[in-house]
């Protein structure tokens, strides 16, 4: 089980993967908006998305869990 974490503080702009989806390493899970920039949050390993921990519009701090991958 792997956690995908926010690389920096910002708000969740878009979630681009779905719960239950098979994803590959490096595939984007969500895109944050921070410092007026789009910040892609890729999965560090492949697997199935077990749970998405955030919704669009949420504020996340650096290190907060965005998704859990199995």
């Amino acid at each position: 089980m792997n956690e995908v974490k926010a690389s920096m503080a910002g708000s969740v702009w878009k979630i681009v993967a779905q719960q239950g989806e098979e994803i590959s390493e490096g595939q984007d899970i969500a895109i944050l908006e921070s410092m007026k920039m789009e910040i892609p949050i890729p999965a560090e390993s492949g697997g199935t998305i077990k749970e998405l921990k955030v919704s669009e519009g949420d504020f996340v701090n650096e290190g907060d869990v965005i998704a859990i991958i199995e």
């Binding site: 690389s7 920096m8 503080a9 921070s34 410092m35 007026k36 920039m37 789009e38 910040i39 892609p40 701090n61 650096e62």
Partner: protein, 509 residues
């Protein structure tokens, strides 16, 4: 037995290192014998070895657990010290320390690079009075490293532990290559941490190679095995001269690799959308010439050695794919050390800017982002090697300054047509200037007003306007950038300046 036979027999015994069981134990962990490592490291084998007979009257301490001498890498002489972990776990006795000090003194006298192949349990407590506190005790090793720093390249290959005081050998090197799974660095072992502060932690978590290469930044390169670490060291040194008085050797020029997309197609017009800076780098440099440093640490800033038209060039580039390319305390730190490294050894610098600025917020202010940023600016500002800054897309606020903006005497500040230079981006600027006005407007009128002000702002910071004001030296067609850089680095190669007269600056650290 003839005297020759006696000598040969003694030498053979010493050259075989410690007891067989320790060789076996090392082999199980994928660790090579020290002499095998040196054979792979050098073009041939070690050419000159000193104090081979150190401590030879104690049969259990062949060469006193360290090999020191001179060999050649890429045809150039280098000095080396290499721990033998089959001898008392590579620990330091009095003669071990003296041998290391002597080879460092040789490197200093001959102005040769100094390599440290570390695999050592630390001080031999039984020898402490002879090797720890005195003038030529272990402290002198670090003193010598500090003296050698910036004079000759210092490289550390970490094959095993580097514990307590020994952890400062990597700390004072220009670069630290760590072998995944075997290399570690720590002041106090997990056992000591549990005893003294009550923390329960594994060695890998606390001081393992992966942690140091991605979290602490004490490691620069994570190698999957010893062979990879050794090949990296050979490649790394090919970008450097033997010492600060010489220029790096020029290699044959190679065209960049072939790509489907042109530079123009690669760079998104939307300033806020990410793109992969590695792809731009690959289109500018000689094929396969990128030698990245600290790849896993602070990935929002890329640092690496490369060649353009056969010449060594150090690249500092924002990576919009990671953290939007925003600068953080760790990325500023990473940049400062890399810039100093290149400047010390006459390697020209190329800055590729696509940066929204330094990170803001409580977390980074508490981490001292201001002083870390100042450290990066100091290093960049002081660098007197040829320095070219390319504004790829946005360069906002102090981000422009940190990336060798026009005020910091780059030899040239070039812009691509997609460049945008400003105190802040249009969205933030309109918000800062017109926040009250926007709040007063009826809600339905706001979007049109904001859009109008964005357009006005964009015109104000238009790159042709900035070129007209001579803020940038040229606007370059994206697909001509490599040629432009190559011509300019050639032209600036005879640059000869002194930054300023003084003993040394008082650096923000």
């Amino acid at each position: 037995m003839t005297i020759n036979q006696t000598l040969e027999e003694k030498a053979k015994k010493i050259a075989s290192g410690g007891a067989e069981k320790y060789h076996q134990k090392n082999a199980e962990k994928g660790k090579m014998f020290v002499r095998k490592r040196l054979e792979l490291l050098f073009d041939d084998d070690i050419d000159i070895e000193d104090a081979f007979f150190a401590n030879c009257q104690d049969e259990k301490l062949p060469a006193d657990g360290v090999v020191t001498g001179i060999g050649k890498i890429n045809g150039e002489k280098v000095c080396v010290m290499a721990n033998d972990s089959t001898v008392k776990a590579g620990s330091w006795g009095a003669r071990t320390v003296e041998k290391i000090i002597r080879i460092q003194e040789t490197a200093l006298k001959l102005n040769l690079p100094m390599l440290y192949l570390v695999d050592s349990a630390g001080a031999r407590i039984t020898d402490q009075v002879e090797m720890f506190p005195n003038r030529r005790g272990a402290g002198r090793i670090f003193h010598n490293q500090i003296k050698l720093s910036g004079r000759v390249p210092q490289v550390c290959l970490l094959f095993g532990p580097s514990a307590a005081g020994g952890a400062y050998i990597p700390a004072f090197c220009d670069i630290v290559v760590m072998v995944d799974g075997n290399a570690s660095m720590y002041l106090g072992s997990p056992r000591m941490a549990e005893k003294v502060i009550g923390e329960k932690v594994t060695l890998e978590e606390m001081g393992g190679a992966n942690m140091h290469c991605s979290v602490s930044g004490c490691g620069d390169v994570l190698a999957k095995d010893e062979q990879e670490a050794i090949s990296f060291a050979r490649k790394y040194l090919s970008y450097f001269p033997s010492n600060y008085r010489n220029l790096p050797k020029r290699h044959d020029s190679l065209e960049p690799a072939d790509f489907d997309k042109t530079v123009e197609e690669l760079i998104p017009k939307n300033q806020n959308a990410p793109f992969d800076m590695y792809q731009l780098i690959d289109r500018l440099i000689d094929e396969d010439s990128f030698c990245e440093i600290k790849k896993k640490f602070a990935p929002e800033l890329i640092t690496g050695l490369s060649r353009i038209d056969g010449r060594s060039v150090g690249i500092i580039a924002n990576q919009p794919r990671a953290k939007g390319g925003v600068l953080f305390p760790d990325s500023a730190d990473k940049a400062a050390k890399f810039i100093q490294l290149c400047d010390a050894f006459n390697i020209p610098l190329l800055f590729l800017a696509d940066i929204p600025g330094f990170m803001i917020g409580t977390r980074v202010e508490r981490a001292g982002i201001i002083r870390h940023g100042a450290k990066m600016l100091s290093a960049m500002s002081e660098a007197t090697v040829p320095k070219i800054s390319v504004v790829v897309r946005k360069a906002y606020g102090a981000g422009l300054y940190a990336m060798a903006g026009p005020a910091f005497e780059p030899d040239a500040c070039l812009a691509l047509p997609t460049a945008q230079i400003a105190v802040m981006g249009p969205e933030a600027a309109v918000n800062a200037v017109y926040a009250n006005k926007i709040a007063e407007l009826p809600e339905e009128e706001r979007p049109a007003f904001i859009k109008e002000k964005h357009e006005e702002y964009k015109e104000n910071i238009d790159i042709y306007r900035l070129a007209s004001e001579m803020v940038v030296d040229d606007i370059v067609q994206p697909d001509r950038l490599r040629d432009e850089l190559s011509t300019r680095f050639e032209a600036y190669s005879h640059k000869d300046v002194t930054f300023t007269e003084r003993k040394h600056g008082v650096y923000p650290v």
